[in-house]
């Protein structure tokens, strides 16, 4: 796991590095992590990020164009402070070819599907395979079933998703950006799993 912190991606300005560029007075417990969200359009990637970063939920969903950049800092119980630099990518097909630009050098990837849409679950599996092939070695991957509040219309069972996640060595969680259910837990879990700087 620790190797991801030593894989800075030159072509993204090096800001994705986790500990290489920490300033002298920064605490050794501070982490910077590049995080990318992938998934079909309309599964709620932006809603998850905006719930986490701003605590907001906007029911009039706005289609993400290209990729949006947001950052948020999270303090863990062990007093580690993680600064997430989040790339919220567009789910549209025309932007699929750009995804490597954003997941390259990422320390963590959230692959999102909509629990009411089997198609989005297939798309999620496509992204998992792509990340396994081309993502940073040791990237923390999370499978997220969003829109958990719509459980009446569920068409992807938790068990199937759980099985798939385990098989692919991923953490799995179901969230609702609308009700905020499990959103903070999701990012805390990622923060915990991030490799810590080895020496300081």
């Amino acid at each position: 796991m620790g190797c991801s912190s030593s894989v800075p991606a030159r072509n993204t300005g090096g800001l994705n590095t986790i500990s290489n560029d920490s300033s002298p007075d920064a605490s050794s417990k501070d982490l910077r992590a590049k995080l990318v969200l992938l998934g079909d359009s309309g599964v709620g990637k932006s809603c998850i990020v905006l719930r986490f970063v701003r605590g907001q939920f906007d029911p009039t969903s706005k289609v993400t164009v290209g990729a949006s950049f947001l950052s948020q800092t999270l303090a863990l119980e062990d007093s580690t402070i993680v600064k997430f630099e989040i790339w919220d990518t567009a789910g549209q097909e025309r932007y699929a070819a750009l995804a490597p630009l954003y997941y390259r050098g990422a320390a963590a990837a959230i692959v999102v599907y909509d629990i009411t849409s089997p198609e989005s679950f297939s798309k999620a599996q496509y992204w998992v395979k792509e990340l396994q092939k081309h993502g940073s070695p040791g990237i923390v991957m999370v499978l997220v079933g969003n829109k958990a509040d719509l459980h009446d219309n569920r068409s992807v069972s938790s068990q199937d998703a759980q099985d798939y996640a385990e098989k692919n060595n991923m953490f799995f969680i179901e969230t609702s950006a609308k009700t905020a259910d499990n959103i903070n837990q999701l990012f805390e879990e990622i923060a915990k799993r991030l490799p810590r700087p080895t020496a300081s």
Partner: protein, 563 residues
């Protein structure tokens, strides 16, 4: 991935009505028509516009039909209660209350978020047939790509019909420009494997509608580049609609702009009025970062340019500015957070993507940095921080906010003696534009019955337009006036009879005056009873006024390299 699409490549099974239309078309003897086709069709329409324009006459009958056609909220009972389609396949020659031709929606966010208006409709719905202005994009195999109204997938048969009409004419070695069917005009634009079609009964000119289709195509290129053509070379049945996923709002917003934004027919951009010193401060900081590999840097407030800077030799076409601003303003996600997105400027290079960094400083004001480097995000983010600091320090953002509310040109403020007026007010102060006291004429517009004007500087590719005064306050009247301007523009620039230098025209709604010189184009609207001599005098005063204010209302001078 392909949606169910029953229509075969060629020889689609046409619905009866479309077959009838095809037959009607062939009856016109397309093969013999080419030279006459154009003019004959226009004259048939008894619109009389072109003839009266070339005579320069002030006919009242010329536009008599137009206002009726333009009334969106006409309670045209006949049309609504008349379900039987006419021979053209369209009920309601004049549109009906169902149509909201480019009206801003009561809740645009909600509607545009989903992007599609009336998705349940298709060509079998009577409401769909009554829409006054349809836009379609389809592939040369007849696959639907975009439709303003209704679900593209359900319109597969209709798309195939349009494709059949186009290929029918092309098979005879000709190109179809438009077809008239009663009050409806069907305008075609063929761009390689992509076909664009507008079906309208809004009385707009062929040139005007064609220009709108050109912009629709430009918007499509901005999103996908012209290299999308390669997909059709590989696979003629390629489904392009999926590639445009989530962009309905962009096209809707552009169609809406056709009825309120003069930039769509003037091919010029407009600036936010600002004191010269404020604009210089903004330009200086953009210039600062233009050297760091940024191709274009634009600071804009809504659709108005605050400042723009291009790298050496790179120039930005006004149409590209229009399409870029439309794309950014109609996609809600840009306002939420800073974004990085590939876009193509069709007039700059239709084949290649540029990468755009977009950041909103406030609800209206945003910076766009364009580069050829796909990995430039963090550099541009730093540049933006630098710009933001400089703008805050020099109070530009505050001045912009103020200008948005105060600096508009109002015809009531038209100075009686512009030159002396400006001499007593140093042009450095941006408030001067609006500081003159409002006269008692406000209630009836400006002096001499002047209601509104648009002034385009040909040399600068920029225009300025006045605010709407009280006589033209509601949406319908504004749209009506814009359509009248569009017609005026088309007639003045008509290649067959023009170009013309002046036109004075009176009808029951307005007196319109147009004056074109080497330096500028002026379009002015007066109240219908305005005196001609008086109107011409006012136009001279407007021109003088604009010249006096040019440092504030235009991006002017050397600060922008490319201009």
């Amino acid at each position: 991935m392909d949606p169910p699409n029953p229509n075969p490549n060629d020889a689609p099974s046409l619905p009866a009505e479309s077959a009838a239309r095809l037959a009607a078309l062939s009856l016109c003897g397309t093969r013999d028509l080419p030279p006459d086709f154009h003019t004959a069709e226009i004259l048939d329409d008894d619109e009389g516009y072109l003839t009266s324009a070339s005579r320069g006459g002030s006919s009242t009958s010329a536009w008599k039909e137009a206002p009726e056609g333009l009334h969106d909220d006409d309670k045209d009972g006949d049309d609504v209660s008349q379900p039987s389609p006419r021979s053209s396949g369209y009920a309601g020659e004049r549109g009906s209350s169902l149509d909201d031709d480019a009206d801003p929606d009561p809740d645009p966010d909600q509607d545009w978020a989903r992007g599609k208006k009336h998705p349940h409709e298709d060509d079998a719905s009577s409401s769909w047939r009554k829409r006054k202005k349809h836009f379609f994009i389809l592939s040369n195999s007849g696959k639907p790509i975009y439709s303003r109204y209704g679900d593209e997938h359900k319109l597969a048969g209709f798309s195939a019909t349009l494709q059949a009409i186009i290929s029918f004419v092309e098979n005879s070695g000709d190109h179809i420009k438009f077809v008239r069917a009663g009050k409806h005009q069907i305008v075609f634009l063929v761009k390689g494997p992509i076909y664009l079609v507008c079906i309208s009964c809004t009385e707009e000119s062929y040139e005007g509608l064609r220009g709108q289709l050109e912009l629709m195509y430009g918007q499509l290129l901005l999103i996908l580049t012209k290299s999308v053509n390669k997909c059709f070379e590989k696979n003629p049945r390629f489904d392009m609609a999926t590639l445009l996923g989530g962009t309905d709002a962009v096209f809707l917003s552009l169609i809406h702009a056709f009825s309120w934004n003069p930039a769509t027919f003037l091919h010029a951009y407009t600036c936010l009025p600002l004191a010269q010193s404020t604009r210089q401060a903004a330009s200086a900081v953009l210039q600062d970062i233009a050297d760091s590999g940024v191709l274009f840097a634009l600071l804009m407030c809504e659709h108005k340019v605050i400042s723009l800077v291009g790298a050496q030799k790179a120039t930005l076409h006004p149409d590209d500015i229009l399409l870029l601003a439309n794309f950014i303003l109609s996609s809600g996600s840009f306002r939420t957070s800073e974004s990085f997105v590939p876009i193509c400027l069709p007039r700059y290079n239709p084949m290649a993507y540029l990468h755009a960094y977009v950041h909103f400083f406030d609800e209206h004001t945003y910076v766009t940095l364009l580069t050829t480097r796909s990995d430039a995000f963090y550099d541009l983010k730093d540049s933006r921080a630098h710009i933001q600091n400089a703008l805050l320090k020099s109070n530009v953002l505050i001045e912009v906010q103020r200008s948005l509310h105060e600096n508009a040109l109002r015809v009531e403020d038209l100075p009686t003696n512009p030159s002396s007026q400006s001499a007593s007010h140093p042009p450095e102060s941006s408030q001067d534009i609006s500081s003159q006291s409002l006269s008692s004429e406000m209630a009836i517009g400006g002096p001499g019955g002047l209601w509104h004007f648009i002034y385009k500087s040909i040399y600068l590719d920029q225009f300025v337009s006045s605010e709407f005064p009280s006589p033209i306050s509601n949406k319908k009247q504004k749209k009506g006036l814009y359509k009248a301007y569009q017609k005026l523009y088309a007639s003045m620039h008509d290649k067959a009879t023009g170009p013309h230098k002046t036109q004075f025209r009176r009808d029951e709604d307005y007196v319109l005056f147009c004056w074109i010189t080497q330096d500028f184009e002026l379009y002015a609207a007066f109240n219908p009873l305005a005196d001609k001599t008086q109107a011409i005098k006012m136009c001279n005063r407007v021109c003088q006024w604009v010249r006096d204010l040019e440092n504030e209302i235009f991006v002017y001078g050397e600060s922008t390299l490319s201009w």
